[in-house]
Subunit: 375 residues, 4 copies
C-alpha cells in the first residue's frame, strides 16, 4: 500500500472550521456525540480525510453514516475501541467536499456504557468555513423520530442499533427539504407522561433542559450529559414535537411497578375501550406543562405538535392540551398537525414506519413548515 | 465493554455451510473475491458474527456491503490491513439470519495491488446450509454493469471506488426479481473490441475464460486470477451481455498509441458522422467471435445481448453481428434486447446511470428474462 | 344506418331491476337526480342500451358520466331538451354489463331552472338484479366534495359545470376502495355556519333533512326537492363531513348584507389575525348542533369529520366542537381526521384540489375508514 | 331555458381562423374527418360554442373527444344524424379558449357506411388564428397506434369503438411532450405485409399515398377517401412507424383464403418454432419497399421504426430490412427504436396496452425523438 505522506493529524479542537450538529457540552477534547442525527461537518479541500473515533458500549454499539455532498456513501457499526476511520481517499485535491459524519443511533438510556467520541482528523489539505443554514429546527420524539425500523427486513424483531437510522428519517429529510440545520431529542418507547409500558420515568420533558439527561451512569455524567443545556447557543425557528404515540400505547399495556418503591403506574381504559377521564387528563396536563417548558426555553420558535404516523388516538387530547395552554398563556405561536399514517406498503422493520413512511411524512411536514417559516 | 465469551473463530475453510458467489479459484485459505457482486453468504443461527478480512491496494481500495435477510444494512471502505469486522451483534440467537458480505467494487485492472480476501469467521452459534436459487445468471459488462455512478452526488467527477455499487445495480436487482444466483464479469471503460479510448487491450472477450484475467501483476497471478476458469462448476441459465457502449465511444475518442510498440488504434468516423465501414465491421466480427466463445463455454444458456442504457448507436451493428452468428452456427438460443435509456431524472454521479436508471432497467430486463426462463 | 329492430322501450318505472343512487323522492315517472354522484345503475344483458333524459337550466347545465364495468367511458354536457342517449351498442348480447349513469355536477342552488331527469330505457335484452354493496357511506361537503376543479386546465377561472366531476372525486374513489355504496350532499362555497362570503343561508345543516332542500324555485318544489328525506330508507355505516373550509374563508371575506332585510353578517378576525372569540364559538356551536342532527338521523353511523385539503385553520375549533358534543351526549362513535393538504403538484383548475389531490385523499381516507368499518 | 341571442351560425368554410388536423381532402363543405386523432382546432373568444356534426355508420359509430386548453373535458359517442353539439357555454367571453374537437376512433375499413363530418359552428364571439407548432410528426401503426384498449375494463372483449382513444394514446402524448402537430395513419390488425390473419390486403403501405385509401364503398369514394394525398401540403419532421406486431402474429394464425379467388396466404413457422426463411424475407422485402415509399413522399423526415409494445419477435427482421434499405439507398436518416413492452400492470382492455403503457411509451419515445429533433 502506498502511503499518503501529505496527511497531517489535527486534534478536533485545533480544526479552525468545523461545525457540530446536535446538543453537546461544547467540549472538543474530545467531542462526544449523544443524540441521533448529531454530527460533525466539514468543508474539506484535500484528497483524503480520516477521523479518529472512540466507541464503547456494554450492549448497544454506536453506528455512523458518512454523507458526502449531501449523499450518504457509507454506514457502519463502530465496534469498541479508539481508531481511525477513512472518510474518503483518492479525490481531486483542488475540489471542496462537504462532509458530514452522523451518529446514526439514538442516545441509549438503556446502556450506560454506550458512547461515541471524535478525537481528531487527518487530512492532506485544508478546512474551509461551513455556513449556517437559513433555518433551525428542533425535533423531539420517540422511536419514530429515532428512525427505528427504517433499516432492515420487515421480519426483523430484535431491538438493536442496526435497525435505526438518522438518515433515512423524516427529520433529516424535512430539514433537507427546507434547507435547515436541525437537532433531534428522541428516545424509543418514551412519551410525554410515561413510556409505552407505563413507566413514569420514561418521559422526555423531565430531561429536556439537560444536554442529554436521559442517559445514566457515572461515565455519562463525566461526559457532561447531565449538564444544563444552554438554550441561548442555538435557538430554533421551529420546534416539532412528535410525541404521544407511547402515551397512547400505555393505555393498552400492563401496569408498571417501580422495583424500588413498589409504586405502581397504569393509564387506564374504561370498559368500553375509551380512555379513563383522569388518566387522559394527566396526559393533557403533562403536555400543557411541557409546552410551558418548551416556550420558556425557545422564546420565538413556532411550536408544532406533529403526530399520527402510527394512528391518531391521542389527537383529541393533544388538541385539548394545546387549547388549554393557549387559553392560559395567550400564546398562539403553536399549532397541531396530523402526520400521514403508516400503511402496509410503508411499514419498515420492527412494525415501525419504514423509509417510505418517513419520506411521505417529510413531504407533508416540510410543506406545512414552509408555510410557517415563510409567512 | 462486555466481551462475548461464546464467540468461536473458524477458518473459512472449516466452515461447513458456506456459499461463495462470483468466480474464484476455489481456494478458501483465504478466499479472494475478485469481481463486483462476488460474495460469501451464510445462514447463521447465533447472536453475533464477525469476519476477518484482509485488504490491500495501491490506488483503489475495496468496499463491501453487508446484506442481512436481503436488505443492505452497512457499506464501508476497507482500508489496508488484516482485521475483524463485526457483521451483527445482539441478535436473537435462536433465529436464523441470512447474511451476505458483498464486494461492492469491480476488479481493478488499473491497480495491481488491489485485493480483498476473507480468512475466517467468528460466531457464537452455528452455520446452516444455504440453498441454491432456481436460476443462475451471468452478467458481462462495463462501467454500467460495475454500478459506476450509482452512489454519490451528480456533481461527483472523481474516478474512485466510492461511487461504485454492486447492490444499487441492475444486476443484483434483476437477479433478486427472478430469484436467481448471479455473477458479474465487468470492467469500466472496456468493450468487445476496444476500450472507450481505442485501446485494443481493453476488451472483455480476451479474458473471459480466466478466473479474473484482466488483473495485472505478480500478486494477482499468485492469487490465481490468471488461472483458467472451470465453466463446468457453474453453468448459467442466461448470459446477459451489456457491452458496446465503450466500443461506440471509441469512434468519438482520440486514437490510442501503444507506448511500447508505437502501434496505433482508432475506430474511425466518416465525414458525415457515420461509422467507418471497416471499423464497425471489426466490432461486428469481434462480437460474433465473442458469441462463439460464450457458446463454447455455456452450452445451454440463453444469451441475451442487452444494450441501451447510454444510447443505442451500436444497436444495428449488434443486430447484424448476432444475425451473422446465427446464420453461421444455426444457434437460435440468443436474442437482443434494448434497455431503457438514462434520462435527466435517472442520471447518477459521474454522468452514469443512477439508481433509478438501474431500477428501471432491472424491471424491464427481469420481465424479459422471466419470459425466457419460464417458457 | 342499420336499425336495431330488437330494441324495446321501457318506462323507468317498468324496469324490474334498477338501482338508484343518491337521495331522491323515490319517484320514477320520471326519476329526478339532484345531487352530484347520484346515478342509476343496471346490470344489462343485451347488445345495446339507450336512456331517455330530460335536461333543463337557465344558467348551469347538467353533465353526466357513463361508467361501464366500473370504468368511465363517456362524459357529456346535457343540453336542454328531452332526448335519447346511447349508452353502448354493438356489444356481445350474452354478456352482462354493469352500467352506471352518473350525474357529474352538484345540485345548483344558484339556478332554480336546472334539472336532470331520466324517463325511460331502450334495450335489446334484459335487466338483471344489482346487489347492494357491503357498506354505505354518506359524504357531506362543499366545493371540494362537489369535485370542483378536478377537470380542466389550471388556468381555468370560470365557475361552470364543466370543471366539476363526481367521478374524479375522492368520494367515488373512497367508496370504490371500500366496495361501498355512497351518497353525496354538497354545495360549493357553503359551510356549517355560513358560506365563504358570510351568507348565513349558505349552510348545509339547515337543509340536511330534506331531499335536496337547498334548491330554490317552484319547479324544484314540484319535483319534491323540499320534501322531508326518509332516513330510514338508507342508513349509512359512516357519515363523512368535509366542511369548515368555507367557514374559515368567511373570516377573510367582506361582510354579507341581506338585500331584503339589510341584516349584516361577518365572521371577524382580531387585529393579530386570529379568530374573534365569539365568531369562532358560533362556528363551534353550529358544528355541535349539526352533529346532533346527524346523530338523530343516522343512529348507528360512525361520524367522521374529515378536513384539511385546503389547509387546517379551523381544525382546533372542529376538535373543540366534537369534544363539546361528546361531553354533552356521551356519544363516542365520532372522530376527526385530517386530510392531506393540496400542493402545487396536486392543484387542479380554479385553484381547487385536482384529481391527484383527490386520489391522495381517497387513499388516506379509505385506509382510515377501513379500520373503522372492520373493527 | 334562457336562449343565447348572440349566437351566430357560420359554415365551416366561412370561418376565417380554423386549423384542421389529420389527412383530409381539403374540403370544408363539409369537413370529413377520416383518421383517429384528426381534429378541428379553434382559438375562440366568446362565451359559447357549438359545432354541427353529421355522423353515420352501419356497424361502428364515431366518437369524439373535446379538448379545452389542452385538457380533455368531454368524450361522447356520435349517434347517426346531423345535429348540433355544445362545446362549451357560460364562459368568460373576453378570454380566448383553445378548443380541439378530436375524432377518437380510427378509420373503419370494416364499415363502409361509417363517416364523421363537421358542417358548421355557432358562436357568440370571434375566432382568432391558431399557430402551427414547431414540429410535425406522422405516426403510422396498427391497433396500438389506434389506441385500442386504452379505455374500458380489462375484462372487455368486444371489438367496438368505445374502447379506442386518440387521446389516451402515445401519439397524442408524444406530440404534446414535444410540442408538435401530428397525424395518425393506423388500422387495427394490419401490418406491413399482411394483417394478423394472413390477409395480404391488410397492409398499410398499399394505401399510404391516398387520403384514406383503406376505406371501402361508394360513399367513402364520394367523400374523397381514395384521392391521392398531396404530401407537399404537410411535410413531417419525423415519421414514426409502429408496425410489425400483426406481421409477427400472422406466423401464429391460420392461413387466409381469398373468398373470391381461392388464393391462400400463410406466413409459416419452421418446426422448431422459428420463422420460415422465405416468409420472414417477404416481410423484410415489404418493409424495405415501404421505406422507399415513405422516403419518396417525405424527403427530409427522419424515419423511426418504433416497435415493441407487444413483444419484439420481429425486431431482428426489422433491423435487417432497415440495414438492407440503407445499404441500397445510402439513406441514413432512419433508425430503429424498441418501445417498452406492456406488462401485467400496464395492460388495458382487450389485452391491449392500456393508458399506463401508452404513457410509458410516450415518455421514452419523446425523449428519443427530442434528441433527433434538436441535434
Amino acid at each position: 500500500m502506498k502511503q499518503n505522506d501529505q496527511l497531517q493529524v489535527n486534534a478536533l479542537s485545533d480544526v479552525e472550521h468545523l461545525k457540530v450538529h446536535g446538543r453537546t457540552t461544547g467540549c472538543l477534547t474530545p467531542l462526544t456525540l449523544f443524540w441521533t442525527g448529531s454530527a460533525i461537518e466539514f468543508n474539506v479541500k484535500g484528497s483524503e480525510l480520516w477521523i479518529e473515533v472512540e466507541a464503547d458500549y456494554d450492549v448497544y454499539e454506536p453506528w455512523i453514516s458518512i454523507v458526502i455532498n449531501s449523499v450518504p456513501v457509507s454506514r457502519q457499526m463502530l465496534t469498541a475501541g479508539k481508531y481511525w476511520i477513512c472518510v474518503f481517499r483518492g479525490m481531486n485535491n483542488s475540489v471542496v467536499k462537504n462532509v458530514r459524519i452522523v451518529k446514526d443511533v439514538q442516545a441509549m438510556s438503556g446502556d450506560p456504557d454506550c458512547s461515541l467520541q471524535i478525537h481528531a482528523v487527518k487530512v492532506d489539505g485544508e478546512f474551509l468555513p461551513v455556513a449556517d443554514k437559513p433555518y433551525k429546527i428542533e425535533f423531539i420524539g420517540d422511536s419514530i423520530t429515532s428512525g427505528e425500523g427504517t433499516i432492515g427486513a420487515q421480519a426483523e424483531e430484535d431491538w438493536i442499533p442496526m435497525w435505526f437510522s438518522a438518515i433515512h428519517n423524516y427529520t433529516a429529510m424535512t430539514a433537507a427539504a427546507l434547507n435547515a440545520d436541525y437537532r433531534v431529542i428522541s428516545q424509543s418507547g418514551w412519551g410525554v407522561l410515561t413510556s409505552w409500558d407505563n413507566n413514569p420515568q420514561g418521559n422526555i420533558p423531565e430531561y429536556y433542559e439537560q444536554v442529554c439527561g436521559l442517559l445514566n451512569g457515572t461515565k455519562n455524567e463525566a461526559l457532561g450529559a447531565l449538564e444544563e443545556h444552554h438554550f441561548d447557543t442555538w435557538q430554533p425557528d421551529v420546534v416539532v414535537v412528535n410525541l404521544g404515540t407511547n402515551d397512547g400505547g400505555a393505555f393498552h399495556s400492563p401496569e408498571w411497578e417501580d422495583s424500588l418503591t413498589g409504586e405502581i403506574h397504569k393509564q387506564r381504559l374504561n370498559d368500553d375501550g375509551t380512555f379513563h377521564k383522569d388518566d387522559i387528563q394527566a396526559f393533557e396536563d403533562a403536555t400543557e406543562k411541557f409546552l410551558m417548558k418548551l416556550r420558556k426555553n425557545n422564546k420565538n420558535a413556532h411550536i408544532v405538535w406533529a403526530y399520527g404516523m402510527l394512528g391518531i388516538p391521542m389527537m383529541p387530547a393533544i388538541y385539548r392540551a394545546v387549547d388549554a395552554y393557549t387559553k392560559k398563556t395567550g400564546d398562539k405561536n403553536i399549532s397541531v398537525v396530523q402526520l400521514p399514517n403508516m400503511t402496509e406498503e410503508t411499514v419498515g422493520s420492527r412494525s415501525h414506519p419504514g423509509v417510505l413512511a418517513h419520506e411521505q411524512t417529510a413531504k407533508e411536514l416540510a410543506a406545512y413548515l414552509k408555510d410557517i417559516l415563510t409567512r
